[in-house]
Symmetry: C2
Subunit: 388 residues, 2 copies
């Protein structure tokens, strides 16, 4: 057969900066980045898209940004700061997305300009998607303001909006040009959002880093007491593990292995069934608990380590199970979710389990009777763990 072979690689690079008070005049972190990437010919425009709840929680933010860019000259600020609703809702309502595209067009933001988004993972997902498709990709800066967005979603390469009632039905893989993690934003988070992002740290420690798991055990109290030093360390290490994983693996997820989605298959179903009343991290904590106990009951993980994992999840303040995660009949939502996930993967399951703390492995089958037992064990204070 006659053919031409096309093969090429595209290199992506970005830095994740850690700072405090990004828009203090004395903080040159973002201005330095912009100046380093400036060209002699022209000043680049920068359009800010801001989570309304962050704006409300941070009096003076708008003035600070305007002041910052009146003094620092790395980019030319579009004086209109675009406010969008915070939370999952912003990804559901197509209008937010269209309005942002409209604004990008109105201000002539092109491939040489920046769209910077400040907010939780939801706002970053929506704004990142708009930036990714306008002009086939405008330079996108992320300024995540939740723990989850700083330690996981905001440092990765995915974006998206919900469509046809389906989570992330539309989206792309599009790395940002830079991420700025400013710990000051975390001060105004409610306790649930503060806690939620800790689930991703537990997750990644369980599958990749036993020392980080121990650190989390030792610092669980500090984290729940909102100790900033502890949180800063946790976010940085968690972000680093996520970044390393993305870089060493399959960044644009062409295969069907998703190690970083440990505990996520059931979590996604739970979020959806509760209409996002259960937060992502809360659902992930329960999903991790389930797959950890499953690992034990299936004979892979020792009971001692299982108990340590569950104890950490509880110590952080998470619930470890939910009625919707229990198998009571063949059509329990969790089994429906498992089937949907199998279909989504094209017919074969790939699910990560634990063989020890700090080491995951993949299986292609889930035994529904073991899953039922795992759910019951969690409900009954995991009295029935496998003594093996």
């Amino acid at each position: 057969m006659e053919y031409l072979q096309q093969t090429f690689s595209v290199k992506f690079e970005y830095k994740v900066f850690f700072t405090s008070g990004l828009f203090e005049l004395s903080n040159t972190c973002i201005d330095d980045f912009l100046l380093d990437n400036a060209t002699s010919e022209s000043v680049k425009k920068i359009l800010f898209v801001i989570d309304q709840d962050v704006m409300k929680a941070t009096p003076g933010l708008a003035d600070k940004i305007r002041r910052y860019f009146s003094i620092h000259t790395g980019a030319q600020l579009i004086p209109d700061l675009i406010l969008v609703p915070g939370g999952e809702g912003v990804k559901n309502n197509e209008d937010n997305f269209h309005n942002l595209l409209d604004t990008i067009n109105k201000y002539g933001i092109d491939r040489h300009s920046y769209v910077a988004a400040i907010g939780g993972g939801s706002v970053l997902d929506m704004a990142g998607y708009a930036a990714a498709i306008a002009h086939r990709g405008i330079k996108h800066i992320r300024i995540p303001t939740t723990v989850l967005a700083q330690d996981d979603s905001g440092v990765g390469v995915k974006n998206g909006i919900n469509f046809f009632g389906k989570k992330n039905f539309l989206g792309t893989f599009a790395p940002p040009v830079a991420v700025f993690n400013d710990d000051r934003f975390l001060l105004t988070l409610g306790d649930r959002d503060w806690r939620s992002g800790i689930a991703e740290a537990i997750k990644v420690s369980l599958i990749k880093d036993p020392e980080f798991f121990e650190w989390l055990e030792q610092n669980a109290g500090a984290l729940t007491n909102r100790d900033m030093d502890a949180m800063r360390y946790m976010i940085k290490r968690c972000a680093e593990l996520h970044l390393n994983h993305i870089a060493s693996g399959d960044p644009f997820e062409k295969g069907s292995s998703r190690p970083l989605d440990f505990g996520h298959w059931s979590a996604h179903k739970l979020e959806q069934l509760t209409n996002f009343a259960v937060l992502h991290g809360e659902a992930v904590a329960m999903g991790i608990a389930l797959d950890t106990v499953y690992s034990n009951l299936a004979g892979h993980l020792s009971t001692e380590e299982t108990k340590r994992a569950i104890a950490l999840i509880k110590k952080i303040g998470f619930e470890i199970t939910h009625p919707l995660l229990e198998v009571s009949s063949a059509d329990s939502p969790i089994l429906v979710g498992l089937n949907e996930f199998r279909e989504h993967l094209g017919g074969q399951l790939t699910i990560m389990l634990l063989k020890k703390i700090g080491e995951g492995f993949e299986v292609h089958d889930i035994d529904s009777s073991i899953l039922k037992n795992a759910g019951e064990a969690l409900k009954n204070h995991y009295a029935a763990l496998n003594p093996a």
Copy 2:
């Protein structure tokens, strides 16, 4: 400053197949591709999106496709074949795009399924964009049916739709998983569409391949007489030069150099101003003529080679100039277009000119009086070429 550095590369690979009668039962080209990419667990779905004008011009196409996939088992055909209008219009009307997303959702087409598009560059651009953003990217197969789509647009990595009245305002860089160039489709093309794609071959020969230019000179008659062997050779060589350029350069166009857009800056403006009454290739032919004569008048290209280039463009049957390409005052459309292009590039022009046949080079300034003279020379049978 504290930061984490993220760096990774993503590899992209696909083949461009050349075949005749893709859906003849005896032709296993596409089935072999699908079987090679099959996994043991499940049969992948394939959804066809077809250019209405191609469907009309190819009686029995629908039956052939259905018959083919009833015998060959590389993928499971979605029996609904999705018809979309052909031509630029399909990229202007958002409804076509939304309907396609809706169909993708309705049939549960996911990242493990295929969206195959049959049509001209316009249909491929629209369908490729929908495939690129649904579920963050469904496997996309392109089956281009015009000369332009087979030798240029269909073998590349770009897609898009028009939005806010702007050409390709929305789109992504997303390589297909395979391209099938079937020469039988070309038989039903009108003469203008047959000719249009030849402009891209002239373009790429002028900037990259003097032997290919000579081949085009020698085979201009055969090409205009619709000789299939000549057209097959031209398409393959032109596609190859485009593929090589993409692979060796900057596939996702992060920089601002666009060598393959030789002659395109004025062509884009002309297409737009005539509301696409002037076809892409026709506009490109005039744009090439303009930048070739400009190269001569600016002292870069010999008069002999300039004449050979213009003679080839004319021999293929193209017009070499258009009133809208002439500079008559400071606000002539062509000067407006030049400014828009400068802004689009972020403040500095990068335009390819010729130093000889087969070798382009880039400049960052265009002298409007030389541009005026170039337009006039073309209008007056280029009597005023630079004797240098």
